[in-house]
Symmetry: C2
Subunit: 400 residues, 2 copies
């Protein structure tokens, strides 16, 4: 779906107000750098956060908000991560939540806070707070495009996704946005992602659905194995649609949420810093999902696989080495089959030894599919990554 269509779906969520604004936190010009989400009748919030022990105070704050189960608003800024700032950083987050709460007529503990940008630079509160004041003075609007724009950092495109579904006879919506292109890695809540639904569900069920879908989507993408101090995925239920929590409704919601989160996760790697190709690694025939996931991630994380894809070089030994290096798996080299695109390369451990050009032809497109069959069991997993290019080096040696 196009950005326009996703913007429309997100804006169609009843009971959700959102927008973006220019506060001046970003160095450059008049770019939007703060955003808000507000659901006056919200019934619950769920969240997953970075597992990094070096975490920003916004993560600590919002983790507590999610733990309480209820929130009505999310305040986000880009341009400054407010991480590594010691005690001052914690005070600044609290001040942000207090200020927003006062303007929206809610309690500070009902305001989640998220930040992204530079580490170790004190937050310019003299710009942030007046910006929040002006932005929330007119909160009764739905401008998904402004919000999506405001959360971008090194992103080259805005990233939205939405899905409509019927729960019982009630038409419902789940939709959201994400930002991020570097510092994206496995074992993480990964990047800033904000999703809303018009269901009237509470924290517990939302949290359960979010965790489940997160494992198969955001935790299966990686740009460079680095994990950020600030990552979070928040899911807010506006409470507009009265839908009882049944097994059937839950399945319908999880399917729609999977669609949204997979789309957002893949958009991130497609926009990976310097990326020119999307790598999809499927591992099948595994004894369990866990080993399939670990090997699929190891393939898309391998710098040698990533550079081979960049160079359209069918260096398939690098793929087997990347899967084989994962510890405690059923990988047995005499059993595995491997293919690039539609072309088989290794069957039951024996290489087919076709000419290099046959395999190289499968790497020409914008998406490269790598499929590894362990021939051991019935389980499978897919991970998404991107190639490693000169562009990545440029972006990350020059950023400061």
């Amino acid at each position: 779906m196009s950005v326009n269509e996703n913007v429309k779906i997100l804006e169609s969520i009843s009971g959700l107000y959102l927008g973006g604004y220019h506060a001046g936190i970003k160095n450059s010009g008049t770019k939007k750098d703060i955003a808000y989400f507000f659901a006056p009748q919200a019934t619950g919030i769920a969240g997953v956060f970075t597992k990094n022990n070096f975490f920003a105070p916004s993560v600590a704050w919002s983790r507590n908000v999610v733990k309480s189960g209820k929130a009505h608003a999310i305040i986000v800024n880009s341009g400054n991560a407010n991480a590594g700032n010691g005690r001052r950083g914690e005070e600044d987050v609290e001040m942000t939540a207090r200020e927003a709460a006062a303007l929206l007529g809610i309690r500070p503990a009902e305001v989640a806070v998220a930040s992204t940008g530079k580490i170790g630079v004190p937050m310019p509160m003299e710009k942030f707070i007046p910006g929040v004041q002006q932005m929330l003075a007119h909160w009764k609007q739905t401008d998904a495009r402004a919000a999506a724009e405001a959360i971008m950092t090194t992103d080259t495109v805005m990233k939205l996704a939405g899905s409509e579904f019927i729960a019982g006879s009630e038409p419902c919506v789940v939709a959201g946005m994400t930002k991020g292109s570097g510092m994206i890695a496995p074992n993480m809540a990964t990047t800033l992602t904000f999703i809303a639904t018009d269901l009237n569900w509470s924290h517990d069920v939302l949290q359960h659905c979010l965790r489940e879908v997160n494992e198969a989507t955001f935790n299966m993408v990686s740009v460079d194995t680095d994990t950020s101090s600030n990552d979070m995925v928040l899911l807010l239920a506006t409470g507009a649609k009265n839908v009882p929590v049944t097994t059937e409704h839950r399945t319908q919601f999880v399917e729609a949420l999977f669609h949204v989160m997979k789309s957002l996760a893949v958009q991130i790697v497609q926009d990976g810093e310097g990326a020119t190709k999307l790598i999809e690694a499927r591992v099948s025939g595994a004894l369990n999902v866990d080993e399939a996931r670990r090997m699929a991630k190891s393939i898309i994380d391998s710098p040698l696989v990533k550079t081979a894809v960049c160079g359209e070089d069918p260096n398939w030994g690098r793929v087997l080495a990347a899967a084989g290096k994962v510890e405690n798996t059923s990988f047995a080299q005499e059993k595995v089959s491997l293919s690039f695109g539609t072309e088989l390369i290794v069957v039951d451990g024996e290489p087919l030894c076709q000419p290099r050009e046959v395999y190289a032809a499968q790497m020409k497109g914008r998406e490269v599919l790598i499929a590894l069959d362990l021939n051991q069991g019935e389980h499978e997993a897919t991970a998404w990554g991107c190639d490693l290019t000169h562009g990545y080096i440029d972006i990350n040696t020059e950023y400061s």
Copy 2:
């Protein structure tokens, strides 16, 4: 020490014969591509090998040789890894050992075999075997330079190290060579490394010493987190010096071996593919050595730290994020202190906020020291890595 000095030390090991030869396995010209080590009176061999489940048949073969405890010879080739070649690969390794054994008058099971180079290309035995025959026809020589040259692949320099030590009153030597610049990673025996000593010790004590020193040296360097199908470190005792195994002699040997293996490991990262700077990451104040090692390795493995070092950008938040992402450690951000070179940046969790230039000045040299103090305990560890540059991308997108 210079290459010349290390060559001399290696050649001074009594009872060791070695050399290199051109067999034609490498595509290009007349480069040497096979080498041998032969110790007719050898008393023991030790080895550590790749943990990758995708391993070459030479690894399986040499693992068995080491398990038996005794070997007299090592046959090495570069230009072809003989990995991913199915059953044919296994047969070729056996043929190599049989041929060398016949020429040297020993048993095939006493010949370790090591290969490095392209994966998935059948070994050109019609070149390899005649090369081995011609090389071993004149085995009674000591040409360390020819051997070191023959094992190089993408290496830009030959890598040797040696150390003389006194065990009791007996002057002894331990010295060796290594190759490797890409596919170097932690949790691995890492790369092809051959070390010899003139001690008359047997497998068990050698193996114990090798494992211990390997953990603190080769397992603490990384170029790109990728681990090869072919890596091994072999340690051969020629038996020339009659030195009883006492606690004191063992300590003397371990110190000398540490010197040699640390030097070889650091030479590898200094010659890392595209590397322009050596990164030394020291983690101190840890609760145990294990967590200190895992965090030091995470710092030198982080693509964002590696690109920051390349760009001489004192982006210290990336270092804390790289250490913080390691699971199950005592890392507490409010306690840590961090420095680049001689300049403190964070003290007890509070950033000193000096001008960027003060920190950047510490990154100008060929070696960048990053020191993280957890302020939790008494243990420490050091890891060595290199920066991530355009050169790495060039080498690995174009290699095929």
